[in-house]
């Protein structure tokens, strides 16, 4: 895991980017204030915020994160259309249920990303994460055995996430 300095720098950098996003200004006064706040916040929270530190900024990770953003967006559009179709269909073709799946992600952050991606795509909802096991509410249960379900729900995101998370 990264050193303290690397963790601190990474946290300060991310907080400074957040500040830029909030102020949306490159005025010198804003930049100085942002830098001061970012350094202060990072000094107290870097142990909490990151485990890898600057290693998170490895070009491969950044590119994969970027790709994942679009990939996730595409999955979300597909799921939205699917659920909307179920809603307006006169027969309401739903088959809801809770399935048990296993995630391949090792790190806590990876599990968080998969769980939140599942929740944010309509039709699936993460109820609980315990170790490698996830409980997921599925609007249209297509498979009940762990292996097939794992391929169909978290597998979709893991394919892409695995690359930069682990």
């Amino acid at each position: 895991m990264g050193s303290r300095l690397s963790k601190f720098l990474y946290t300060a950098l991310v907080m400074f980017l957040l500040w830029l996003l909030l102020t949306s200004s490159f005025n010198v006064q804003e930049l100085v204030a942002g830098a001061v706040i970012a350094i202060l916040v990072a000094a107290f929270t870097h142990e909490r915020f990151t485990k890898k530190g600057l290693a998170n900024l490895h070009p491969k990770r950044v590119v994969c994160m970027f790709i994942y953003f679009f990939y996730f967006f595409w999955q979300m559009i597909k799921a939205n259309i699917d659920v909307a179709w179920r809603v307006i269909h006169p027969k309401m073709p739903i088959n809801p249920g809770i399935v048990h799946v296993k995630t391949k992600m090792k790190s806590d952050f990876g599990k968080l990303m998969v769980a939140n991606s599942i929740t944010l795509t309509p039709g699936t909802l993460t109820l609980e994460v315990l170790g490698d096991d996830m409980l997921i509410h599925w609007i249209d249960v297509k498979a009940t055995d762990v292996e097939t379900a794992s391929k169909m729900i978290p597998g979709v995101f893991e394919k892409c996430l695995k690359e930069f998370m682990e």
């Binding site: 500040w19 005025n27 204030a33 706040i37 909490r48 968080l112 994460v129």
Partner: protein
Amino acid sequence: MIRKLFVLFLLVIVGFFLASVVVSVPFGAEKTIVGRYYLNNTIGETGGVNAVTSIVVLYRGFDTLGEVTVLFLAATGLAAILANTREKRKKHKEKPSLIMRVGTDYLFPAAIVFGSYIFLHGHLTPGGGFPGGVVIASGFLMLFLAQWHYKADELWLKVIESLAGMTYVLIGLIGLWKLGTFLGNFLGKGTPNMLLSAGIIPLIYIVIGIKVGSEMTGLLQNLRETTENE
């Protein structure tokens, strides 16, 4: 029957006085004289583009000092009331889920930065010290909810809060010394719409933000420790 007549009688009286007031107000005339004054003169007189903030901190800065005191007294009162119930602590039955535990780790610094952004830009955008402080406290609330072993250092909270409160009064006294009015705006107005403008508004809002943030955090911590005993 008598009751109904009595109600009717009361209604007539209320209606009569209401009507006599409404009649005396000229139709279509400017009624918000004070509000109009603030809107027209705020930028020229204070340098702050947010009229509400200028009123709260400059025109009525003394009131705001009172409000901060009220919040302080409320927090102290709560702590005093809860002080007796705090000894016996109970173990938690259920661990918070991984999603909450890990998610709050990433959101906590962001909440602090967002709160700081709100109170630093009180004179430019809607917001100010009070909402900024509450956003910071909500960051701590996330930790309280999701990470039960987490505990804010109460001594530090008290020290930070007291220092912020004293700084507020000190800024007021500097105004008294330089301009002859308590909380007088002794700094330049600056260019409107810049971060460094509106004189002492940003200073006071930084102080209020820090004070409210630490105060609310202490308050939430007190409340959490009592609910644990249930």
